[in-house]
């Protein structure tokens, strides 16, 4: 029970800070001082205090979207070990539940966007669904590679303590490959710059932002909070892969994990400020590339064992 609470506290309290770190890194690259690190928390509080504006044409689906977008990352995080901390809930095959929980979240966000009846939001939903259905094979193949290396089928054993040893053996090569793949998936799923710009409000290029355009007040706050939780949950996969050390002490494990997340956030900020946004037609191409790389990693693993 204590582990359960610690897990949730870490997730719920720490997640918006990552967004703040990313914004700050981008500001520093642009030569500005930037918003304070805690700005996302202030934003959430401000949004929570506002009222709803609801269109008369919308139904309950419109409000279900933000609710699902907030609960899905929380549920998914319970299946995932945070660094050295084991996952509170774990069973064989929970990796499939993990992947499809995000599918559920996406389904409801797209549905809420379609519910507004605006053709503009429908366009965003179509784009988002296209990109995520190309990102899904990558994440599944990466998890299969991990499953093959670890020999288990739950996320807890996939990201278990054996990872630190695996980096020194022949499995290092496929691990490096899927690290790259998962980083691309992280950028796609969180609508980060080479694939989608979280700050853009240019009609032709928006993907994720256009779907949440009609939400206001607490609903928008839930969506923003859900997005930062999603960033942290997907980032946790990468951090565990890249920093598999375990100190054996709970506090040390937590510090390694949070430090890794901060490094990851800075890395995302650097990528966002040094890269230009890709043209829309190039995004599926890159995603197919990562699918191929993850399949190649699987071939490497199958060959070496």
């Amino acid at each position: 029970m204590a582990g359960f609470l610690l897990h949730l506290c870490l997730l719920l309290l720490f997640a918006p800070l990552l967004q703040g770190v990313i914004t700050r890194t981008k500001a520093l690259f642009a030569g500005r001082i930037g918003a304070p690190l805690l700005q996302p928390y202030f934003d959430l509080r401000r949004l929570w205090g506002k009222g709803f504006v609801l269109s008369r044409t919308t139904t309950w689906v419109f409000l279900a979207g933000p609710a699902v977008a907030l609960t899905v990352p929380v549920l998914a995080s319970l299946l995932l070990p945070f660094g050295g901390l084991p996952a509170p809930i774990s069973f064989e095959g929970d990796l499939i539940l993990f992947v499809y929980l995000f599918g559920l979240g996406r389904f409801f966000t797209a549905l809420a966007a379609l519910d507004t009846g605006s053709s503009f939001e429908g366009m965003g939903a179509a784009r988002e669904v296209t990109f995520s259905c190309l990102a899904e094979p990558t994440i599944l193949f990466s998890l299969i590679v991990l499953a093959r290396i670890s020999g288990g089928l739950s996320l807890n054993s996939l990201f278990g303590p054996h990872l630190a040893g695996a980096w020194g053996t022949g499995a290092a090569a496929p691990l490096g490959l899927i690290l790259v793949c998962l980083f691309v998936v992280l950028l796609v799923e969180n609508s980060r710059i080479p694939f989608d710009d979280p700050n853009t409000h240019l009609e032709l290029t928006m993907i994720h932002e256009v779907m949440v355009l009609d939400h206001s007040g607490p609903a928008l706050g839930m969506i923003l909070y859900g997005a930062s939780l999603k960033l942290m949950v997907l980032g946790a996969l990468l951090v565990r892969l890249a920093f598999p050390w375990q100190t054996g002490h709970i506090l040390g494990d937590v510090l390694v994990f949070l430090g890794g997340l901060l490094v990851l956030a800075i890395l995302i900020g650097v990528v966002e400020s040094t890269m230009a946004r890709l043209r829309l037609v190039r995004v599926p191409q890159i995603l197919i590339g990562t699918v191929l790389i993850s399949i190649f990693a699987l071939v490497l693993v199958l060959r070496s064992t």
């Binding site: 090569a173 790259v180 890159i286 790389i293």
Partner: protein, 212 residues
């Protein structure tokens, strides 16, 4: 040492994929240059620092990593090539073919009668994969300069193969291959300029319509 060279080889394979899928000529040239630079590390990583490997690495770095890419970049500046690569078949099919070939070489390499110390390494499959990726690039692109890039990549594959034999292979052979390549790039540059002047484009497809 061993895992470091494996890491290098892996990056080489990733750069193969990148070059096959990339639409920008400049990015392609830089990717092949980085690949050449990575290859220059390999002799030192796999055989230790001796006079022979240092010479091999230095030569590879200077020629593959710096000089030839510089020539190519200069060429696209002078001939004013548009940035797109213009593939004969699309990027995604090329990538798929490249992935199939790479997976194929990894399976094929296990059946080759190799020495015991080469049996499990990444050297042979990477060499073959780079070789065939270069070949694919050579076949599927229209622009003369991308064909030079394909040729360069093909030579990179041969170089990886040569590293395994660098104890047995005299430096002269390696130097000969590198010189051949350099001459090839020079000739290609001259030919490209010529094609550009005659046709005001360097699309090699137009060459098939040549009449006397």
């Amino acid at each position: 040492m061993h895992s470091l060279s494996n890491f290098c080889l892996l990056l080489v394979v990733l750069l193969n994929f990148f070059t096959l899928g990339s639409a920008r000529l400049g990015a392609c040239i830089r990717a092949v240059a980085i690949q050449g630079g990575l290859l220059a590390l390999l002799p030192i990583l796999s055989h230790g620092i001796t006079g022979h490997t240092l010479l091999l690495s230095g030569g590879a770095l200077l020629l593959k990593g710096l000089f030839i890419p510089w020539l190519l970049l200069r060429a696209i500046r002078e001939v004013r090539i548009r940035r797109e690569v213009e593939p004969l078949i699309g990027y995604v099919p090329t990538l798929l073919l490249g992935a199939l070939i790479t997976a194929g070489t990894f399976i094929f390499a296990d059946f080759l009668p190799l020495l015991a110390q080469h049996q499990d390494g990444l050297f042979i499959p990477t060499a073959l994969a780079t070789f065939f990726s270069g070949f694919l690039l050579l076949m599927t692109r229209r622009k003369a300069i991308t064909q030079v890039l394909g040729y360069l990549m093909l030579e990179n594959g041969i170089f990886i193969f040569g590293i395994l034999l660098s104890d047995a292979m005299p430096l002269m052979v390696e130097a000969g291959v590198l010189l051949d390549l350099l001459v090839g790039v020079f000739v290609m540059g001259i030919v490209m300029n010529q094609i550009n002047r005659e046709f005001s484009t360097i699309n090699t497809e137009r060459l098939s319509a040549l009449k006397d």
